[in-house]
């Protein structure tokens, strides 16, 4: 089964213990990935399943992950995510609204409290490859396609969220 955008976005926050006092940017991210919460396309709801993933939404998910896990500065991270994703939708909000969203997102992200290094180190502490395997089990619903055998624990986490299996549940 494919994770819905909400499962993907909120699941990422929960999984990596990212505490976001303001969920607004993440609600927007979910909408841009195809699931505008409480606004289904019709009474039948979203088609769901594999229909969540097309060339646009898959690249959107990858960008979300890439930006969220790439930088040390979480504020820069979310700004980039939102910029890129607003680009993707093809309908940028009017300038005033864009700036307001930007300020809101900045505030939200400034208060974002998480540390990938700490999260992954704690999980893997002193457990070597067994630690890597257990992190893979925790993050992915299927076996990873490429599990790095060396590198920092945070690099392992980055490899796992970049795995195509990360979109499955």
């Amino acid at each position: 089964m494919v994770k819905s955008p909400v499962e993907f976005v909120v699941g990422t926050l929960k999984q990596f213990e990212i505490q976001a006092p303001n969920l607004r940017p993440f609600v927007l991210a979910s909408a841009l990935l195809g699931q505008n919460v409480f606004t289904p396309p019709n009474v039948k709801g979203w088609p769901g399943g594999e229909a969540w993933i097309n060339a646009a939404t898959l690249l959107g998910r990858k960008q979300f992950i890439d930006r969220l896990f790439k930088n040390d500065d979480p504020m820069e991270t979310t700004m980039n995510v939102l910029d890129e994703m607003a680009d993707r939708s093809g309908t940028p909000p009017p300038p005033g609204r864009a700036q307001r969203q930007q300020r809101n997102a900045e505030r939200a992200m400034a208060a974002l409290n998480w540390n990938l290094e700490r999260w992954s180190s704690a999980l893997q502490q002193g457990r070597g490859t067994a630690g890597a395997a257990s992190m893979a089990k925790l993050v992915l619903a299927v076996a990873p396609r490429n599990l790095p055998t060396s590198g920092k624990p945070s690099d392992l986490a980055r490899a796992l969220v970049a795995d195509p299996g990360y979109h499955l549940k």
Partner: protein
């Protein structure tokens, strides 16, 4: 098939008899042609669809000015006769469509009136689904009509993609599994993010297989597309013009693409329609004008067909909010170097509206798809459309 259509056009009675001969001759010429994958594909000819999202008001787009009922149904919304761009003794274009007049004067603008389908559905969502999947009113199909065309006759593997959706995440007529379809807003940005994708296959898990196939499509397309070409003409500003520029850039990549879909949104003009509609039509016309220049510059004007579509038209009688409500039959445009300009279909019959005050349709919308599939791409339209629909003859032989 061009000769065959030419003969049909001049009304030769022996067409049916001579057909096999021409068919065979075509076969011979193909056999002698170099067996080059790209040379043999119907998709050297490009289709660019423009969705007028929200349902364009056809009566204020191609105005039946000579019919007195037009002005009486629309005391506040009827456009001034003096401002209109005259096409024929019956019809005139909205003044914002001035950039299209050059195409009309060149006899390259086809105007297809009275498009619709039996038992029309007035919900945006449902009716656009009917148009996208070329279904009957009460029929629910999963795959879009273009996706089904590509399933029947795939584009060569060397093509960057079969279809590209620009500026929307909704695949519309290109939705359906197995179609190599991209959605992007901007080519450069697509190429940046495509670096995150990795090709792969052969998974037993079907969801994973789907994800990997999408990644493979992205990686392949990214290897073909580029943004190297510098256009001589400037593109207008605005969201839709940005999509037009992206489409032109895709064509300039010479990467092989069979269909591109653009979307201009905001046509759901229930209130205070006049200004909004004038701006939207200006955006549309300036966009088509810029697209025309770009395609001419790329030497692709003769091998491109541009066509508009939307879910339905709007009700002839204006509403209480200076707007118009959801209607039925509507008018669409087709243009391109091989389009035979003129009026097609049937002018709106304002005198015989149905019980809801809506127009009767004259031409099934699937007839325009039939033109694309059977005459533009010379493929079997009946199989894709699950039935025979007489093509609208707006293409030159």
């Amino acid at each position: 098939m061009n000769r065959r259509r030419f003969l049909t056009g001049v009304g030769t009675a022996t067409v049916a008899v001579t057909l096999p001969l021409f068919g065979r001759r075509d076969g011979v010429s193909w056999a002698q042609a170099p067996r080059h994958a790209l040379a043999a594909t119907p998709y050297q000819k490009l289709l660019i669809l423009i969705e007028l999202k929200g349902a364009n008001d056809g009566l204020n787009t191609v105005v039946p000015y000579a019919d007195p009922r037009y002005a009486s149904l629309r005391p506040r919304l009827a456009l001034e006769r003096a401002s209109l761009l005259t096409l024929t003794e019956q019809a005139a274009l909205h003044p914002s469509l001035k950039p299209l007049m050059a195409l009309w004067d060149n006899k390259q603008l086809a105007i297809i009136q009275g498009l619709g389908y039996p038992s029309p559905n007035l919900s945006h969502f449902r009716s656009i689904k009917i148009w996208d999947t070329a279904s009957k009113s009460d029929e629910y199909l999963d795959a879009g009509w273009l996706a089904r065309t590509f399933a029947q006759t795939p584009a060569p593997a060397a093509f960057a993609a079969e279809g590209v959706v620009v500026g929307s995440n909704d695949m519309g007529p290109l939705s359906g599994q197995g179609t190599r379809t991209l959605a992007l807003a901007d080519t450069a940005q697509f190429l940046r993010s495509a670096k995150l994708a990795q090709a792969g296959k052969d998974e037993r898990n079907s969801a994973l297989r789907h994800i990997l196939s999408v990644e493979t499509v992205v990686v392949h397309a990214a290897s073909k597309l580029n943004t190297n070409y510098q256009f001589k003409n400037e593109f207008p500003r605005g969201t839709f013009a940005g999509q037009v520029r992206t489409a032109a850039q895709l064509v300039a990549s010479k990467a092989g693409i069979a269909a591109i879909r653009l979307t201009l949104g905001g046509f759901d003009t229930h209130a205070n329609q006049l200004g909004t509609h004038a701006n939207l039509l200006r955006e549309l016309a300036e966009g088509i004008d810029a697209l025309t220049s770009a395609l001419v510059e790329l030497n692709r004007w003769d091998s491109t067909l541009v066509m508009t579509y939307c879910e339905f038209g709007r009700r002839p009688k204006e509403n209480q909010s200076n707007g118009t409500d959801h209607g039925t039959a509507n008018v669409q445009f087709a243009t391109g170097g091989r389009v035979r300009g003129g009026m097609y279909g049937e002018a709106p019959r304002l005198g015989s509206l149905d019980g809801n005050g809506n127009l009767a349709f004259a031409v099934d919308f699937r007839s325009t798809y039939s033109t694309v599939i059977s005459q533009w791409w010379e493929q079997d339209a009946a199989r894709v459309l699950n039935g025979r629909f007489e093509p609208v003859e707006f293409l030159r032989a």
